[in-house]
Amino acid sequence: MSAAVHAHAEAAGAAARGKVAVWWFLASEVMLFGGLISSFVVARLGGAAHAEPGQLNVTVAAINTFILLSSSYTMVEAYAAAERGDRRGMRLLLALTVLGGLAFLGVKAYEYTGEIAHGFTPWAGPFWSFYYTLTGLHALHVLVGVVLNATLCADARLGLGRPYRVELAGLYWHFVDIVWIFLFPLVYLS
């Protein structure tokens, strides 16, 4: 087997292994958020855990949702660029994705600040306990995704020639996005 063919087989194998692994990992993440969200739903149905209208800033959260969804789109385009071998495009789109994640975290921090200033701390009642735990755990996941994408962006060699790495980071990033799609209506709109 020539070196080039060998390297190609090695990369294809690594891509297959990586994808299987990430899907299993995400399955366990679904159960983690599933456990927390179901606990919240049960508490909410029991009447204990809900916010009064006006306590949460729905408009800002909706804008934040839009930011996060847009960053999923740039992630998809970054993967397409990596597959084309378009180094500049990949770096630009990954940078945009990272910016989207950071903007999301910034807006979230702004929301937290306002809520805490109004006395809605994590110990202000069952809803606020769930609110900070759910959105905080999600924010930690966003942070991990930002670090992953920033690493791929900073060292373009990681992704170029091995576009599956961008794809795997993308799988994770979309998952983080989907979790938020569940959290936004459950926490802010219900």
Binding site: M1, H6, A9, E10, A12, G13, A16, R17, V20, A21, W24, F25, A27, S28, E29, V30, M31, L32, F33, G34, G35, L36, S38, S39, V42, A43, G46, A48, A49, P122, W123, G125, P126, S129, F130, Y132, T133, L137
Partner: protein, 572 residues
Amino acid sequence: MSPATLAAARAPEHRAAAGFFRTYLYATDHKMIAKQYLLLGLVMALVGGFLSYAMRWQLAWPDTEVPGFGFVGPETFNVLVTNHGTIMVFFVAMPILLGSFGNFLIPLMIGARDMAFPRLNALSFWLLALGSAVVVASFFVPGGAASAGWTGYPPLSAKTEYTGVDWGLNLWLLAHAIEFAAFLLGGVNFLTTVVTLRAPGLTVGRLPLVIWQQATAAILFLLSVGPLIAGAIMLLMDRLAGTGFFLPERGGEPLLWQHLFWFFGHPEVYVVLLPALGAVLEVFPVFSRKPIFGYRLIVWATLVAGALSFVVWAHHMFVSGMDPRLAMPFSITTILISVPFALAVFAMLASLYRGSIAFELPMLWGLGFLAMFTVGGLTGIFLGSAPADIYLNGTYFVVAHFHYTLISAVIFGGYAGIYYWFPKMFGRMLGTRLGHVHFWSTLVFFNLVFFPLHWIGIAGMVRRIANPLQYDLVAPHQWINVVSTVALFGLILSQLVFLLNFGLSQWRGRAAPGNPWEAATLEWTTPSPPPHGNWGDAMPSVERGPYEYSVPGAGRDWLPQRVGAAGAGGRS
């Protein structure tokens, strides 16, 4: 590209002169990592066993000085029960049965050179080692170690002033978190390896059953641990951030923890049981020279039991104050789950039926597993039924029940595997004379420790009491506690016999041939112990199922799975 060519494409690594650090500490070879897990599990078993010694001494002769430990008393007793349970389940059973067996067997039995992610594998092990260190360290912080029971029920566990334990309990939660991360990464690695790195010809229908069991256990763990991690985060928030998830006075709900805990807790029982069952399923065909009875039946039973294990959890909560209307459906699912396990047990019996049984040590342990597990399974039916459970819940009947299931798995199933694969793992035969002493004394003492506990449980002795003599109900039966404790001394001494044998055989044991048991699965076609990369230059391929014993017309009484392996001979 097929998985097989991918496996072949990964060339064997040549590093004959790896130093001590690479070989023993930062090891990425799955066989060395398996040994690390085994050693860690055995060391932690000594810790957990020592706790059980102090605990049983206190129960037999309450409030007397325990030799080598000191005075126990109620608070320390709670620390002992809590950490005995935690250590034995999470830091002994899982490292040995999943960590060690899974790492050693999966690549060797599916014809791969290593796990799919060797460095991730090393990370899993060292995370677990860190978790073990944290749980041991928790004994030495101010306020002492966790004492809220191995189930950590709030509100007891949610506030420091209820138990007086502060950082001990936080560290206990932290140790769990690290342990879960370790086995999550390990489980992802196991599943990826089984899915992507099988040898050519090794279809899923030809996988050895132990691989099925390991993979199912990994799936169960991956899918069940999430809610408990969520619960652990919430409990830690209650303790450190002042939230009130589980505290009624802050609008919380203590029962929620129990749901989250047991949603994990029941599948966890099978996470421990299945690899042990798998080891015994490998041993039976080899030592009865018969194909396993009902391969597909066993696979389906495993998968069905795994699926059902997600809908039985509330049988741990019949007397917890949950909605009583839930008792009936959970009783039904619980009794239903005994059906696939009964099928598996009958398939095992049928595998033995009219075989040429050789009572070698792995087989003795396997038979011991079958007998002891059946006792545990039968008492489980009592407890699964809500009316009986309302009386028996929280008594020593439950303690006896789960020790019959867990010890049959961890001790009997675990030793079946250790005695069976020891020659492959270490290249030496494990001594049989001390081995027989070990088996028979363990069998006798185990039953003497735990069978009488059924009686004292029915008589009304409840768990987690430090001084049974304080209860008029229990005091007349105190002789049972004394018998059980004295037998425990014997049980612990028997395990020291094993450790002695284990150590002696490492350097004085007979050199093991490649296939000492004349077994058909792939791992026995490698030298003992297998070299780094397992297969030299010739990657194996597979042409038949794993249990082709006593095939009519074949030259020998077994046909190896591997294409072209010695002993595959045609007709005589």
